[in-house]
Amino acid sequence: MVPVSPPDIDLLPIAPEMALAGAAILVLLLDAWRPARNQRLAVGLTLVGLIGAAAASVALWRWTGPSTVLGGMVAVDGFSVFFRLLIAGSAAIAVLFSATYLKRTGEARGEYYALLLFAASGMSLLSAAADLIVVFLSLEVLSLSLYVMAGFSRRRLASQEAGMKYFLLGAFSSAFFLYGIALAYGATGTTNIREIASALGGGGGGSTALALAGAALLAVGFGFKVAAVPFHMWTPDVYQGAPTPVTAFMAAGTKVAGFAALLRVTITGLQPVVQDLTPALWAVSALTMIVGSVLAIAQTDVKRMLAYSSIAHAGFVLVGVVAYNALGEAGAMFYLAAYAAMILGAFGVVALVSRRGEEHTSLVSYEGLYRRSPVLAALLALFLLSLAGIPPTAGFVAKVLVFQAAVVSGHWALVVVAVLASVVAAFFYIRVIVIMYMQEPEEAGEIRAPGVPSAGLAVAAAATLLLGVFPSLLLDPWIGRALIAP
């Protein structure tokens, strides 16, 4: 008998995703077994899954094994640990927001949390994907879950519309992405990100034109996920229509995960052709900042305004990508952490103010919010100031880092565009603060903030302030050691 040696499979590097998917299945089973009512158990289980994923990620921080596992499909590095933690944290905060919201709208169904966990597992895997096939698979896992979540409020037409719109356009962009993978494979003969780089760099290994066409199509796919102009059209409608906690999760999680993969693909995979890509990325970055900031001014709905703001922020993160140096990468990572905290916080406040359904997302409902709930008004003001990039908040440090990186690379014009876009953006953030603090409330009645979502808001607010005052807490010990090299 010849002993059969099992293939050498180490599952620890994907333990975070296993924890998330496992928890999702348990939540589904629980829902089938004891449906409805028992939301508390589902929430608890979800949080346990997220904490488990975070713990498994931390355990990977000191990984000494090979840099990729599972046949070169999944990368094991500090970069993926950083993003997995960020995603788990964002998902946990979104869960805290969801519990109260769903109870209030009478939509508490178990599959919500299962979907959220599946989406989180997709995002998590995306940040560790070392092969374009895995990138595509995890993109699909997260997107399919989010399509359903966006349309979760079945009785509300806007939500249905959001789900449908997101699905149709998302499927479209997936096709682009897949075609991009095919072209990249045609050019280099591989879908492994690192091998693509060596094929392109080796010269003569493949057609550069084909590779560039592939890169452009991949960029379309990523551009859609991170809501960069001109692939942003879906964002305002979907963000507005989706249930607010879903919007919060989508805005934070998808963008973080999408950028994680984008960074890995551009830094590791496309390094040899980056000279050719930079002008395109430059233009997308500038357009995204301008369009996002300018269109946000005209919005009268707070969710739409935040949607445009989130578009603009994609442009700011891209500034760090365009810079294409270590500082830019660190800046983009810091920016994403800061962005996740502040956008989650902002949408979290919106979820509390727009009670019962979605009828109070017009800016009019925020008039005199200070009188109705000083705490919520102060928190929203903090998040808005951070989104505007005013010190001493996380948003300011994030902007300094990416701008500085672009300056070091000599992208002056982009920095000037970025700064001007920030000034324009400051205008509409400040307008909301004016409305909250300087006008009398239209309707009376205090707004009470229940404990569970308040805990989520407190975490987001603490992160926004802490990262602003002591950015080194995150930069030196974490981001500094999580950078990926070309």
Partner: protein
């Protein structure tokens, strides 16, 4: 004195820490929350003043360069450091801030709406202003400079008069637009340092050593303009002053006091600390341009003040005029001009701050600031009228009071190098005598309009507010030596930069 004690850090952060403590105390005593915040804010700001007086003893007179310097790394990746220090330029601005703040809080005693948020804004504002005056790292300065914006915006917008929202937004957008360019310029300096020194830095002293000769001469001029624009909005220099009258008129009394007394100085201070120190050649190149703007501001501000009927607006325009003097002096290129400019910043803080306080007290009694509807108050409130007269005389530079020392030094210092500018600026002195005395006459003399009932004279609280200011006004007027002794060494260092014939000696920051 031991330099191991972190004087500046303590002074800067006492107000902020106080706000945090008061927040907790306010939560614990719900019923007395407003008075906890009032008394607490007063105590905290008074404590900051006492500590800053103690700091004065640690400051070594006659030694140019930065003192009481503290350094710590903040963001290692960017070489962004927490560096603070004072020199003769900033020393008295720190003291002015800590001195005016308790008075402004006392003047806000009658604010009834949202007292905790109001007092918290005041304390945060104090930390930001103090930080801006002592920061020696450009990015750190920018953090404080931007940090000023929001609390002041809230104070104007939430506790101001009828058109407060318009005024607040205008204030915000003007300043924000200015600081955006400042930000790009700061990033560029970092880049330039990386190219020339081999490491990127935001440190003021190191950046002052950059070489801008040859091909970089034009770059330095652009950078000068970026810095200049940001600070000229704050000063405000003509023609960027239009936000100021609106902001002043709509702001609550204490807001106006701080805005005129301290905030405008951040702009004038920035011109000296950054424009002059970082870009000597460009400063010399733009010297005449800046002085022309300053002189226009002096005359224009005074002329417009002349025709105002709202007394608060009148004082606001007088600020435009007086700050013109400050800028004129600092760019005159003589030690007298520079010393006078720095001292005049303090003087203007005292006298204009006091004018706004008095106007606020008048308004609380008469509920109007319209000069056409006021009159005869001298008979009803003689003490208030007396204080008003003293402060107005100080503002119009009567010999023996503080304004004279500053304006005389400025005009003398300017006359040496640019007699023409000094002559035109002197018109501003005459005009200021006219509009202030005329306003005094219309308010205090004559007969009392029918609708004005009996008004009480000063209360004890109001005495407590006004007496210290007047003491300071007289003290600087009669015995300015202790102030000038500390200002002069650094004034000389900076004045040399814009001397008409460049001595070729680069004023590289002290230490």
């Amino acid at each position: 004195m031991p330099t191991t004690f972190s004087w500046l850090t303590v002074i800067v952060f006492v107000p902020l820490a106080g706000a945090v403590v008061l927040f907790v105390a306010g939560l614990l005593s719900r019923r007395a929350r407003d008075s906890v915040w009032r008394w607490g804010a007063l105590t905290v700001s008074a404590a900051a003043f006492v500590i800053s007086l103690a700091m004065l003893t640690a400051f070594e007179t006659g030694r140019p360069g930065f003192q009481l310097v503290e350094r710590a790394s903040w963001v290692g990746l960017l070489n962004f450091r927490y560096t603070v220090g004072v020199d003769g330029i900033s020393l008295f601005l720190v003291l002015l801030t800590t001195f005016l703040m308790p008075l402004a809080i006392l003047a806000s005693w009658k604010v009834e709406r949202q007292v905790p948020a109001y007092m918290a804004s005041m304390l945060v504002l104090e930390t930001a202003m103090l930080g801006a005056f002592v920061a020696l790292d450009l990015l750190l300065f920018f953090v404080f400079f931007e940090g000023l914006l929001f609390p002041m915006y809230l104070i104007i917008g939430a506790w101001g008069g009828e058109r407060r929202v318009y005024a607040a937004v205008k204030f915000f957008l003007f300043t924000m637009a200015g600081s955006a360019l400042l930000f790009v310029a700061i990033l560029f300096l970092y880049f330039q340092a990386a190219a020339q020194l081999g490491f990127g830095t935001f440190d003021l002293v190191q950046l002052a050593q950059l070489d801008w000769s040859g091909e970089f001469e034009v770059t330095a001029r652009w950078l000068f303009l970026a810095f200049f624009l940001a600070f000229a909005v704050k000063v405000p220099l003509f023609p960027l002053h239009t936000w100021l009258p609106d902001a002043h008129v709509e702001a609550p009394t204490a807001g106006s006091v701080i805005l005129a007394g301290i905030l405008l100085k951040v702009g004038a201070y920035g011109l000296i600390r950054f424009n002059l120190a970082l870009f000597p050649e460009a400063s010399l190149y733009f010297r005449t341009f800046v002085m022309v703007l300053a002189v226009i501001g002096i005359v224009y501000g005074a002329a417009v003040a002349l025709i105002q009927v709202d007394v608060k607006r009148l004082v606001a325009y007088s600020s435009v005029s007086h700050l013109g003097f400050v800028v004129l002096g600092t760019f005159a290129g003589t030690v007298q001009g520079m010393s006078g400019g720095v001292l005049q910043m303090v003087n203007h803080g005292l006298s204009t701050g006091a004018l706004f306080l008095l106007v606020g007290m008048l308004y609380e009694r008469t509920h109007t600031r319209d000069l056409r509807r006021l009159g005869g108050l001298g008979r009803q409130t003689p003490v208030l009228a007396g204080f008003f007269l003293v402060v107005a005389l100080s503002s119009l530079a009567l010999p023996g009071l503080n304004g004279f020392v500053g304006e005389f030094l400025i005009l003398a210092g300017t006359f040496v190098t640019n007699a023409g500018f000094a002559a035109v600026a002197a018109v501003g002195v005459i005009l200021s005598a006219i509009y202030l005395l005329w306003a005094y006459q219309r308010m205090m003399h004559g007969s009392l309009p029918e609708e004005q009932a009996q008004h009480p004279d000063l209360s004890i609280r109001e005495y407590v507010i006004l007496v210290p200011v007047v003491v300071a006004i007289v003290w600087i007027g009669l015995f300015p030596k202790p102030f000038l002794d500390r200002i002069e060494p650094d004034a000389e260092r900076h004045a040399r930069i814009v001397e008409m014939e460049p001595a070729g000696v680069r004023a590289a920051g002290g230490e």
